[in-house]
């Protein structure tokens, strides 16, 4: 009996350990589970991708020409700029249904949500305004006059400053969100597209699509610290068009989408120099980190796919086909 018992337990113990290990792994995977949402301006859809399996789960129909997208703070809602419908659609991420629309002004392209989660800021390219929308009251609060063809928008981590770029005047406008006034204008290179604050709020990175540079601006002095240029063997300068920018949480790396060059530049933020170029899909436009920052997802407007970059190895892991003309991308933890 004792012998039997001993045999019994010695054979079960390794199995128990294995099971405990599997359960722990599953728990770890469950913690890291996340979902990727991609807007496709030609198909009028949001593609839903499982972040772990990298499989497309669903394509959800939304209004005409969806471009900029943003997640609510609780991750339950996706705000979608439906540019040709001239409004922002509110997509419930549990039901995947559009519950209502928000006013945005004409042709909204890009939007950001304030850190408090209450106000949305949308750039209206056609009438040179930034529209501020109260998402709870579902109404427009104010319109702020900015430069010609407003485009990119970055909000400071403390929610006090909004930086908006204007394509035609080639400026980054610093808007004080308490007074809602433009307090400073920084001249950058031609056709600025995206503005992104560093996580400590000390820098603003602005990409210039035609200029082919990214200006790193000191948030306090409003001076340009450095303009980062890009050179890729075999690719003409005209094809190198910086657009999307993502900065890692620890502030050590920046990833910059270079449009028709089909490359993502990896920048060492201490040296402000490019350390590597990664070949992704054609006309790479916007980027988003996974919650653990182990992956970056890029939207590629010509090849109609999303490239998945392994951030640790700095290699492109996979391409996922999505709707036509993928534009915006966000990741929901």
């Amino acid at each position: 009996m004792l012998f039997m018992s001993s045999r019994c337990c010695s054979s079960i113990r390794p199995r128990l350990i294995t099971m405990a290990f599997i359960i722990a792994m599953l728990a770890a995977e469950a913690v890291q589970a996340y979902t990727v949402y991609v807007s496709s301006e030609k198909d009028n859809t949001i593609t839903v991708i499982d972040g772990e399996s990298l499989k497309v789960l669903q394509k959800v129909a939304v209004g005409e020409r969806p471009r900029g997208i943003a997640l609510s703070k609780d991750g339950k809602i996706l705000y979608v700029c439906t540019s040709d419908a001239d409004h922002i659609e509110v997509l419930d991420l549990e039901t995947l249904k559009v519950t209502h629309v928000l006013p945005s002004g004409p042709d909204p392209e890009l939007l950001v949500l304030g850190p408090e989660g209450k106000y949305l800021y949308a750039a209206n390219e056609d009438d040179n305004m930034v529209t501020v929308v109260d998402v709870e009251k579902r109404q427009k609060v104010i319109e702020i006059q900015v430069g010609v063809e407003p485009e990119g928008m970055g909000i400071s981590p403390d929610g006090k400053w909004l930086v908006n770029t204007s394509e035609t005047t080639n400026m980054a406008h610093f808007i004080n969100l308490e007074t809602l006034k433009v307090e400073d204008n920084v001249l950058v290179d031609q056709r600025p597209r995206v503005a992104q604050f560093s996580n400590d709020g000390k820098q603003v990175w602005v990409s210039s699509e035609i200029g082919g540079t990214v200006s790193v601006i000191d948030s306090a002095t409003r001076k340009i610290i450095k303009k980062i240029g890009f050179e890729i063997p075999g690719i003409h300068k005209e094809s190198i068009q910086p657009v999307g920018i993502q900065l890692s949480r620890d502030g050590t790396k920046a990833f910059i989408a270079l449009g028709p060059a089909a490359r993502v530049a990896v920048v060492d933020t201490a040296k402000l120099e490019v350390e590597k170029y990664l070949l992704v899909g054609q006309r790479v436009w916007n980027l988003a980190f996974s919650p653990d920052e182990k992956r970056i997802f890029t939207t590629n407007g010509v090849s109609n796919d999303v490239s998945v970059i392994d951030v640790e190895r700095l290699k492109v892991k996979k391409s996922i086909q999505v709707g036509r003309l993928p534009w915006g991308v966000v990741v929901r933890p």
């Binding site: 031609q190 056709r191 063997p233 075999g234 003409h236 094809s239 089909a262 070949l279 109609n304």
Partner: protein, 213 residues
């Protein structure tokens, strides 16, 4: 009404860039946008191989692919505008399987050289066509603007002849304005055409690259 039309005509002429006609030059300065280019996308004269191809270099193969009858024939076939690119995988696989191991990568690279050259050529024609179309629109905007100037002058002329001329011009202007707007909206469609070729190039490049060792 005349004022608003005039203003619009003026705006359109500005947008179209009523400047000296320029044709697309391969060597033009990359950071000086062509003022006649009407599309939202920045003008890129040619798609470089490095954008879609990480395989062996195609340098020196610019003419060689045309001298290889089999490659030339396959290039013409798979780059024709009505070719269904979904069928490309089967045809490229068949081409690849016929090659001797030592030559396979070289001939696949030759195939890619032909594909990118042919599609870039077609794309360039599309770009030139779009620019010519935009220049035509720009010239039309100028003519409309001049006619609107004349209509403004006629408004201040009390004579019977002036009133009759103004009435006729207003009638014609409505038609011209409508035609102008229709042509203007067509530009957006034209601007999507280079992208379609780029998409096709990407698919073919990736399919060929798949069969490289």
């Amino acid at each position: 009404m005349i004022d608003s039309m005039k203003k619009r005509g003026f705006v359109v002429s500005l947008v179209c860039g009523c400047t000296l006609a320029l044709t697309l030059q391969a060597g033009e300065s990359p950071r000086q946008p062509n003022p006649d280019w009407p599309c939202e996308q920045v003008l890129v004269a040619e798609v470089p191989a490095a954008v879609v191809w990480a395989g062996p270099s195609i340098k020196g193969m610019e003419q060689a692919w045309e001298q290889d009858r089999e490659v030339e024939s396959l290039v013409r076939h798979i780059t024709s505008p009505d070719y269904d690119v979904d069928a490309a995988d089967g045809e490229i696989a068949a081409f690849s399987s016929k090659q001797q191991a030592a030559e396979k990568d070289q001939r696949l690279t030759l195939l890619f050289a032909g594909v990118i050259q042919s599609l870039n050529e077609r794309r360039r024609k599309e770009l030139d066509g779009i620019i010519r179309y935009a220049q035509g629109q720009s010239a039309r905007a100028n003519r409309l603007s001049e006619e609107l100037d004349e209509m403004v002058r006629l408004q201040d002329d009390p004579s019977q002849a002036a009133r009759e001329r103004l009435a006729l011009m207003q009638q014609e202007m409505e038609i011209k304005q409508r035609m102008f707007d229709e042509r203007e909206s067509f530009i957006q469609h034209l601007c999507t055409r280079p992208r379609v070729i780029e998409e096709r190039l990407g698919i073919l490049a990736r399919t060929i690259a798949y069969y490289l060792d």
